[in-house]
Symmetry: C5
Subunit: 348 residues, 5 copies
Amino acid sequence: MFRILAVRTKHNDELIVDAPVERLAPLLAERGTRVWVDLGHPVGETDMEIVRDVFKFHALAIEDCFEERTHPKIEEYDGYLYIITHGLTAGATADSSEIVELDAFLGENFLVTHHSAPSRSVATVLGFVERTGLPLRHSVTAVLHAILDRQADGLEAALDNIESRIDALEDAVFASPRNTHVASVLSVKRNILGLRRWTARQREVLLRLGRREFELIPAGDALLFRDVHDHLVRVNDLLEGFRDMLTSIQEAYLSAVSNRTNEIMKFLTLFTSTMMPLTVITGIYGMNFEHMPELKWWFGYPSVLIAMAVMATSILVYFRHRHWLGRPPKVDDIGQDVVNDQPDAGAR
Amino acid sequence: MFRILAVRTKHNDELIVDAPVERLAPLLAERGTRVWVDLGHPVGETDMEIVRDVFKFHALAIEDCFEERTHPKIEEYDGYLYIITHGLTAGATADSSEIVELDAFLGENFLVTHHSAPSRSVATVLGFVERTGLPLRHSVTAVLHAILDRQADGLEAALDNIESRIDALEDAVFASPRNTHVASVLSVKRNILGLRRWTARQREVLLRLGRREFELIPAGDALLFRDVHDHLVRVNDLLEGFRDMLTSIQEAYLSAVSNRTNEIMKFLTLFTSTMMPLTVITGIYGMNFEHMPELKWWFGYPSVLIAMAVMATSILVYFRHRHWLGRPPKVDDIGQDVVNDQPDAGAR
Amino acid sequence: MFRILAVRTKHNDELIVDAPVERLAPLLAERGTRVWVDLGHPVGETDMEIVRDVFKFHALAIEDCFEERTHPKIEEYDGYLYIITHGLTAGATADSSEIVELDAFLGENFLVTHHSAPSRSVATVLGFVERTGLPLRHSVTAVLHAILDRQADGLEAALDNIESRIDALEDAVFASPRNTHVASVLSVKRNILGLRRWTARQREVLLRLGRREFELIPAGDALLFRDVHDHLVRVNDLLEGFRDMLTSIQEAYLSAVSNRTNEIMKFLTLFTSTMMPLTVITGIYGMNFEHMPELKWWFGYPSVLIAMAVMATSILVYFRHRHWLGRPPKVDDIGQDVVNDQPDAGAR
Amino acid sequence: MFRILAVRTKHNDELIVDAPVERLAPLLAERGTRVWVDLGHPVGETDMEIVRDVFKFHALAIEDCFEERTHPKIEEYDGYLYIITHGLTAGATADSSEIVELDAFLGENFLVTHHSAPSRSVATVLGFVERTGLPLRHSVTAVLHAILDRQADGLEAALDNIESRIDALEDAVFASPRNTHVASVLSVKRNILGLRRWTARQREVLLRLGRREFELIPAGDALLFRDVHDHLVRVNDLLEGFRDMLTSIQEAYLSAVSNRTNEIMKFLTLFTSTMMPLTVITGIYGMNFEHMPELKWWFGYPSVLIAMAVMATSILVYFRHRHWLGRPPKVDDIGQDVVNDQPDAGAR
Amino acid sequence: MFRILAVRTKHNDELIVDAPVERLAPLLAERGTRVWVDLGHPVGETDMEIVRDVFKFHALAIEDCFEERTHPKIEEYDGYLYIITHGLTAGATADSSEIVELDAFLGENFLVTHHSAPSRSVATVLGFVERTGLPLRHSVTAVLHAILDRQADGLEAALDNIESRIDALEDAVFASPRNTHVASVLSVKRNILGLRRWTARQREVLLRLGRREFELIPAGDALLFRDVHDHLVRVNDLLEGFRDMLTSIQEAYLSAVSNRTNEIMKFLTLFTSTMMPLTVITGIYGMNFEHMPELKWWFGYPSVLIAMAVMATSILVYFRHRHWLGRPPKVDDIGQDVVNDQPDAGAR
């Protein structure tokens, strides 16, 4: 599947969309005419003929183009550059992002792009060229720039996704902390790491395109590539900010768990402190000494029961006074304040 | 709503404030006269006429201008630049900061600004121009710089807000640590992340304005934009400092919770260690052996009671000697020293 | 063991592979002929003769070349450069990576390389030259660049290894956290540190080669070395990303352990809270007071037993209502949700 | 209060110290004479006359000069620069550092400085000029540089303070960890943040002075300002190092608390494990079964007591064998080894 | 103590080692002769005469030279530079590193160095000059560069020390975690901080020497100083890597302690869960109800004993099934797996 677009600057800036393959060679031969050929999936016989017979690209470059390559590169051939870059697929989420390879041949008056999967950035630029002729009217390098710029912009959506995911995670950790949240944090972090690796590779290509290393790229256009490069540098910086935010959420989770342990300990201590003295008292009057006058008193038993009740109550009152008395914490309460009876705090 | 300001350098630097719309075209046609048109909210029919009929801006740029765009950009048109930047609203706090879009058309002798919400930076510069004619007397680029500079300065207030919020959080965590503090820390961190994203975008525009990329911007003024850019870089650095401070507070919270758990454990251990031996003793004399001579002694019962009291006291004395004896910690005591009986420490 | 390759540009770009040692001197003397001599392990007498008698290298450089040196360096001699760099062996894993020294003498029309262990990068480039003559056809500096480029690319495999190791560790920590995982994290981190030290040293050489410091290196080739240098800088950045990911895993382990402690505490508290009141009740009716009417009732004993059963059940029901009731956690359950009875959560 | 110093290069480098105010105008008019006027606190009528009538500075600059400004700036006026910078007061400690404003007017042959509080850097440079004439003999820019350089050097003392404070905190956390240590850590961190903010602002001024932006500053002197700028960049780097050290101390505190909790748990477990079996035994022989032959044996009671003693001892021996037996930890023991009976470790 | 070395380029590159002090002045006067004077400890009268009378250095510089200065600096005098730098002493370990001051006077054809303690770098370069004449044969700046280069290389040994110390600490924390390990971590970190401060200061001098700021330093040699500077920048980067590694070890320690607490809790819970039901049972049959038929049965007592044994066993079996049954952890077991009965895991 191929699409051929051309702008004939010597013919009143005429824009030709979807020219038949036979017109390709004449258009390329015209002075002042710029041609963009986009080869999409599936690659048919005509596509092969275009790159092999019309453009006469190097066999090695053609092989690289139609096979999958994970590492970006720029190779200079006689009269054209062969460039491999990678964009993000449209379905990039906070947890995973897939990468789609984009191959480009850049000549003085032509650009041939190839992508084995649908590419959002190419589609957007294609639509734009169809409607306005821009940026093909300007130069073929400008078309390449537009595509790479859209690729970098595609990251913004991923950033938004990650941001809203972080917000959701943050809220969830405070509402009811679970181990799966930590797993989510690590999953997003792993995705961020992948995005950083992607930007690192993409920058490699953009740096070279923006450095006036190649004569095919005019100085003014080099500056544009540099802008995209700088954009990616800043995006990288933001990804680190997200990473830090996720670390904070991970630590908030730990704090929440520690907090809960603390609550449980408090409850255990409260319970034990109330019960143990009662056990000692019953133990005392369970001893078998012959001379224990209290045992003979008729009011001994009720007195002890009352004494035990008073003792237990005193302890609870004491703990309440010390702001310890609480219900055994409901698991879902973690998000609330550590101290439940805050209103009493001022009443001491 | 529009305001037109002009300085006529060829006419003795005459400053014209709030010129009627009819005078706009003649002023623009004058050599050596600089015009600043500010279009505020609401956008009336006259405003549209100004940009469409007087300045004849490109339809696409006008559309971009009056709709909301979250991404900054600079586009070069014939004879003017179209610039989207974003400033912070006046109500930026430590927890949230909102962004107001500012669109600008920069020509050789004119500047058209548009903002759909009231913009503090524009208002300040407007007031300054009204009073002194500066910086419009200097150049229209200087006016744009002044506005962008004020936008960057607006961040300083947010920084101060964040700083005082950090101080308050720090004190609160030590006075009485609560889970809401961790939530606050994350909220401020999220805001900081937003501010960093904002500075990243803003720097994108400033870098290009400061790079002598555009002929419309004189070299001297480019340097000024560069200064604003550098300022934002340093602000970014400070935001990271704040982020680190917040992480420390988060960890201090964790320390405080661990500390409290420790105190509770100590209390539980103390209580258990005191009570358990008593239980064993009462258990011993509660056994039903026939040959237990102590049971027959008339002083057996009081002896055991005294022995139990002595034993409990000894244990408490022992713990006190080991600096363990403390009250069950009041929840509000976390901020105090871990060891309560410090004065005794030297007396051992 | 040595291999001699040459390209005779004045003789129709003739490629000579594995020339005998006698042809070496004539080839070097020819104008426009480029020679690459690779000295592998073991170093025989002929190898020594080549560097000593044919190329007449400085004795100090020869000594450095055939002994092991851990620090990279570049030394300029009369008419040639002596360079020590280091590559990674093929067996680099996530936990350990070994380094193989590569010595190179770079002259105007010759390159002599030496490595005491098999070098993947040299082997790859050798194969490439044998098949296509490239990059020797271009220049000897290009051959050196190709080797150093392959060395840097060798890191990519290590990065992939580390990445998949991190994925495995992450899964393992959530499935069943163990102390050995922390040890693994530290081991990978240590390896990453080693790789960073290696890139730091490698960059030292590449920076100097890419800086136009040496006249032997043409400006265009210097740019290539610069690219390799930039690649290593970005790799370094990624290594830091991995490091951070490992720190997250370490913290996730800590969270998992805390979580488990929390579960155990909950179980202990539940158990203690259920049993202690029963103990107090049995203690009460074990007291020896004479006037305890309940003891005489024939239904006293069963009533108490029933009361105890009711009490224990009530406590358990209460805890269940509070979402506390759980089984003592199986050690392997950590990866699951903190709250086991989640389905009931909505039924409250 | 004012001081006037001058060097007359055309008059044999004559140094004039504390010239009367009447001589100021003639000195300024002399070719080749450099004048430094320092205006200290309090600002009298004569001081005002100097800036207003002798130097004829702009009214806005004078207003800025004598009021407090927290933001540094450089403004270019006709024939002179107006500069606001800030230095640290002499009393900067690890916990707090105050800032003193320094205003400077820099002309071709004059420098006017003003500070509302005593300024160490100005005082040092003043003393130096009085004694040697340097750096005023060189140029007025050199005097400004000397002052700004001393300001930056003033940070070194603060760094030393912070360093020794960190050492003390580190030792204290290991000797006897307390919550106040965490508060101290945060306090020093906050101060470091303040210092970083200060360096960020100071660098803003120094960058511009060192950039050849102003014609008044010779290229050679610009380089000097650049050095001060670079110095501050490195100081900033060190401040981050300190920050990291403090984070480590905070974590060491958490470790110490966890350790202590661990010790307390161990003690509780030891105690409970020893006592509980005894309770069960006494419970058994406290049961009221009619057919319990042991109860009738005359040696039953002592046997049980002995059995209980043996049982308790066995458990303690077992724990000792497992390296658990320890005293309840003294609070001050945290700094020691986790395992107390280390000498025995080898004897197993 | 002084040593005088000279190379007479006009006299056939003659190398003079340990020339007597009387020959110094004539050698300095010779064209094309380069002289290096090294003044070591102790400083005798002759040494003073050399700097004062032969070289006629400025009194201030001489004073600075023979006193201790902690801050590096470069001062330009008439015809020579005075430089203070600092090297590491040979005894630098992972925990501490001491610094030795090196003063240098660099002229067009002479270098005077002074160090109050033995300096490894000076000694190495001295030895090299004695044997080969290099780098003095090249230029005096080259000698200075060689010394500063050796100073930077001295850091490599410290790095190796730190690296092996980190390895040891890592192993120790996993074998048997103790509080002293955290103290060691902080001690190494403190040393790293010191080294970073040292590199920061050293870079200050090297940056200026490498910047073509001084005419005395030829452009080619400036590049060499730049290399040393870049080396220190990379070393700084590595020091941060070490710092991070140490943080990881600190966190591993915390994990180990938490793990141990977890184990202890498990043991306590196991013990309590087994014993408490027994206590309740004995309590039940210790009650004094008249109508408790079981008490009359002759097989009541043995039945209860058997029931108790069965109950305890069942609980232990249940826990074992849940992978909880373990021995009370030996303190030295921390390094092993969290789960002891791993082999059984598959048998469930």
